[in-house]
Subunit: 407 residues, 2 copies
């Protein structure tokens, strides 16, 4: 069934439709347990509870002397120096009236409750081990320069929630907690089909009326960077039976089909035509660029039809597919969302959410790169951000604060 509708949907509603299309892929069969490093960039598939305190034991924050703080009166005192506590050792109890040289990260000896940094000791050097020595130390409060057990996280607390994106910091925490493997969702396999009689592979001769296919490179690299596995059909001509054949050949082996082009209202719309008899809707999203969109299933496989211009493709990926995947699987990471001030005024179609390309500068302003045209791939290549101009806004003045997604 081919349901062509003229409904006009918001960016948020279409993003939610994409999410619902892919939600069945979030199921326990698709969870695998990977070594930490192999899980880099994936999303956590289950809550992780801390099996131990971090730090696991009270330890010294400085190189210095471990003492019983009650041993040192105001004005300081001289203490006998006992055996040093290197990091990694399990020290004996600190005898009253003594001071133990202690290194940063080393376990506080039982009985000790404070550390005096070496710089505050007299002499401000560690005595040679085994040689009887004393040291003069100032009074310090209990807990001075101590990192308490569990002061970062306590055993039994939620360390990372299901759906967390696993970057270096998160994997570092899992390692600190002693984990070697982590449950993550399997990588999604995407079938990417670019279309158009005007489109030729880079490297081929460029005849009149032809352009090189940039959509495939733009989207495949975006998808790879997002941790997705991509298979390409190669460029399909505008003959619907050719496109349908290419899709059918690969559909059984993928989780999602993404097409570019052929979803608008022209006389030759190959994706619309190839999807006849399948459950795919085509309609306009109130967004510029990237308005024409298709969504549904082809032979039971989820399919998204992106428009044909390169900027529209990238914006479709960033506005719909990336956030939907991130919200379902914790991967890819969401784009950092920040606020910046427009370096120049802009106009926007009031009835649409406009996405402009720009460069965020270190002074907190954002400069537009190129105009609104969806074919401006050179301007895109010189941008580091997508500027979000919500529906209902027709103009913004220089200096206006806007929401910006960092690319």
């Amino acid at each position: 069934m081919h349901r062509t509708q003229s409904r006009h949907v918001t960016v948020e509603a279409h993003r939610e439709s994409v999410r619902q299309l892919l939600a069945p892929l979030r199921n326990p069969d698709r969870i695998e347990r990977l070594p930490l490093l192999a899980a880099l960039g994936r999303g956590l598939a289950a809550d992780v509870v801390a099996p131990l305190d971090l730090p696991p034991f009270a330890n010294s924050q400085m190189d210095g002397f471990a003492i019983r703080s009650a041993d040192v009166p105001d004005g300081g005192t001289e203490l006998g120096v006992v055996a040093p506590v290197p990091a990694g050792a399990a020290p004996a109890e600190l005898a009253p009236g003594t001071a133990a040289p202690i290194m940063t990260g080393a376990m506080l000896p039982p009985g000790a409750d404070a550390v005096v940094p070496i710089e505050q000791a007299l002499p401000a050097v560690f005595p040679a081990p085994g040689v009887p020595a004393t040291v003069r130390l100032p009074a310090v409060p209990a807990r001075n320069f101590i990192r308490d057990a569990g002061s970062d996280i306590r055993a039994g607390e939620l360390a990372l929630a299901a759906g967390t994106h696993l970057g270096p910091g998160q994997l570092g925490l899992l390692a600190a907690l002693g984990f070697t493997r982590v449950p993550v969702y399997r990588v999604l396999r995407i079938l990417l089909a670019t279309t158009g009689d005007e489109v030729v592979e880079p490297g081929s001769p460029l005849g009149p009326g032809k352009i090189y296919d940039s959509n495939a490179t733009l989207l495949e690299s975006s998808m790879r960077q997002a941790g997705l596995h991509v298979t390409r059909t190669g460029i399909s001509t505008d003959r619907p039976e050719e496109l349908a054949g290419l899709l059918r050949r690969h559909a059984a082996d993928v989780d999602l089909i993404v097409t570019t082009g052929g979803v608008s209202k022209g006389a030759y719309e190959v994706v619309r035509q190839a999807m006849e008899g399948h459950h795919v809707d085509f309609f306009g999203v109130a967004m510029q660029p990237g308005g024409p969109q298709g969504i549904g299933t082809f032979d039971g496989v989820p399919v998204l039809g992106f428009p044909g211009n390169p900027v529209s493709c990238l914006v479709s990926f960033e506005m719909f597919l990336r956030p939907a995947l991130g919200s379902l699987f914790g991967s890819p990471a969401p784009r950092p969302v920040v606020r910046a001030r427009l370096a120049e005024a802009l106009a926007s179609p009031a009835g649409k959410h406009q996405v402009r390309r720009g460069t965020v500068l270190p002074d907190g302003t954002v400069r537009l790169e190129g105009g609104a045209g969806s074919h401006l791939v050179s301007a895109l290549a010189h941008s580091n951000a997508l500027i979000q101009v919500p529906e209902g806004i027709a103009a913004l003045a220089e200096g206006a604060e806007v929401e910006v997604w960092m690319l």
Copy 2:
């Protein structure tokens, strides 16, 4: 020669030292020409000049009718409809007094100078090809809905400068220009050595006084994400001869050695000791955390000695190694630098550049995650940004605007 210095250097000066240490690696012998997709995340090793205009030819921005604008007087007129121009075709000259159906992206027929969108035509549909038809069109200015050849970039212009980071947008531009390969710098090979008698591999039993090694995971994943090739020595104990042996075994096969721990002023500083007889300086950078740093060469191989706490490691990588590599090789990409307002007040040691961890929120504020302690790996795992508090600032109020690097 072991040169221990007590000099105190700024963040910027140490970053420049790291850059100079690695600058000899930017040489023509290390350039390779890769297929576009394989170059994702690398840095461009030479300027790329556009070999053709983009768009390559004047084309239509809309589905509509191509006309000679002078043919339509104010108030509009009826024109005879000729053969349609699909995208990808090389159309014949447009006869005076006619209108050619034209699809988005299709080449403008010679003679035509404007496009009237289909929505403005009467009737607002394309006639069946081959059937004689006329269409009533309004007057439009010359160049209406035309994308001029070269309006994105012109042949001969600089498309991408040497040193550009190659993300999806940049690779998309190269594809649009017809390139299939691109010159990039070879991936740097890093030897990563974590040290400490207190440190054990995740998955092993954790004895008293011991902690799991999170530095290796934190740094290896950071480096991998940055496109670097990482070899690990495994954890070295605090015996200098063990560490030196591990480094010597791998040094010939790597471009850079990175160690963690053992660079401070305690009694057991394994990296300092292992580097005796090599050209390595150890000193404090005016930064918190991550102050103690080592830099030099070991058996002629560049070496960086990061401090031993996990947050210090990550901050050292982000503040020194990542920017130095990005500036030399165009890879990794720099961290997005934005401005945000502090959600709460903070204090900072006035004589040091403080780097705090935080979460940038969509409202443009940034929330601190954990305190200043360099052992707070759980707080790090819940952060998405590094907050930069420059040297000379002792306190910042709630609402103060700060520079933030997005992780």
